[in-house]
Symmetry: C2
Subunit: 306 residues, 2 copies
Amino acid sequence: MVLTNSTDSQTIPFDLSAYLLERKKQVEAALEQAIAVVYPERIYESMRYSLMAGGKRLRPILCLATAELAGGTAEIAMPTACALEMIHTMSLIHDDLPAMDNDDFRRGQPTNHKVYGEDIAILAGDGLLAYAFEFIAVQTQQVPAERVLRVIAHLGRAAGAAGLVGGQAVDLESEGKSEVGVETLNFIHRHKTAALLEASVVSGAVLAGAEQADIERLSRYAQHIGLAFQIVDDVLDITSTPEALGKSTGKDVQAQKVTYPSIWGIEESKRQAHQLVEAAKQELRSFGDSRRPLAAIADYITARTH
Amino acid sequence: MVLTNSTDSQTIPFDLSAYLLERKKQVEAALEQAIAVVYPERIYESMRYSLMAGGKRLRPILCLATAELAGGTAEIAMPTACALEMIHTMSLIHDDLPAMDNDDFRRGQPTNHKVYGEDIAILAGDGLLAYAFEFIAVQTQQVPAERVLRVIAHLGRAAGAAGLVGGQAVDLESEGKSEVGVETLNFIHRHKTAALLEASVVSGAVLAGAEQADIERLSRYAQHIGLAFQIVDDVLDITSTPEALGKSTGKDVQAQKVTYPSIWGIEESKRQAHQLVEAAKQELRSFGDSRRPLAAIADYITARTH
């Protein structure tokens, strides 16, 4: 896939597929090293089962790309990139539990609690969340400690009640309610999806020592693509197949969930996602050629079919 | 209660009851301020419900006492003290879940999931765990960032698979098994109980800038009292009443759990706990008068009846 940047007259060709593949490999090699299986093996195996179950590794890749954009290296950001994937995986394991969304499959594989039982699945999520912070604190090299603390604070906020947890709480509360409006829906997805994507981008920038104005631009970029990502996800739940998505489809309709397509319709949802992606790319204008990965990732969100 | 220190000829009178009461008030005032209830209220209320449900606040108090012992102030350690209680509370909420120990009461009150439902209880635990790290990173004042990072690393380790999570995993796995030996039992309690007590003590020392040799002494002190604490807990489960303990008793026998009294008998268990407390106090010898709170807390463990 070769995408061109459409926000200005200058065309910047960029091979996103190759970039994502290469970066995914790097991230998975680092994740592979991150958790050793020791006694009691079952809990470490359960943590690894979900952590190594594939996925696009979008959050780590955004973190690495932003660190480079802001003048740092991928190396200084890799521990935080891994921690972001641990936090994301924790939220998937817990959201899939019978007491929550009760999902049996994730990325085409049985969910954690289907393999290890509910008790171990709850503990595996807790273990990944705690380890994420330990991992950043212990593994980050060649970054002033003040910046690392700022990253930990930002990720803690994105993972907790002001982020993932708060979004999931409102999502659960809204299920089966037909009067859910677009503001509630935005709240859910700003917290369930956008908050951790935003933390991925901002943490890369903070580690690299970006200036506050640039951090704010990158934060807005990430919030826009986060919401666009969720709108496209809602659309794909209707228009795609389980085979293409690697997870069950039509779930939202079945659960009587209010979604962007259920409020706006499919075409308007796509238009809104496209607009958000354009706004996201506008925020990148001042960064020159080094913005290419982030710009291409924004385009990829509306282009993706699974 | 006025306890005297029995490890050396010099008698150090110390009013532990007054000390614990005063410190508990300080900690609860700080915890009260730590979490504001905002939208979505239910998740914050659930987090506060368990966080403010009482308890001895032993972990925060150990952290504050050790910070002072090591030449620091209670102020520099208060955010970490609060975070320790958040992590402890998270582990109680999740351990009480139906998929784990399935407890309906805790400290005489209905457990979190009985009040808020399983879904919110899981999320409240996640929220407290994530917030603990954010809270330390954002709130700690007048401590070099390197020390704060070291504290975060230590607490992450104590909360995760190398600590609480690993201990609970082995505990669940051992339930109903009659062949559990004292080594497995030690593993469970070194991880479920002692690890976070140890982190409480070590984090106070690290924040205050203690030397490595002193940190190691204090670490051993905490590991000894952690194990002693659990032995006494096992004994009290047999010898105390639900009214005195504020939680159900006889649970271990009912669940066919192997405990220290079931291996050693009640008298030998008490003797072992006493020996551990003496060993703990030995580690404090070099600290002079400032060791009094920690020494008295060690004595209190074997003296307590609930």
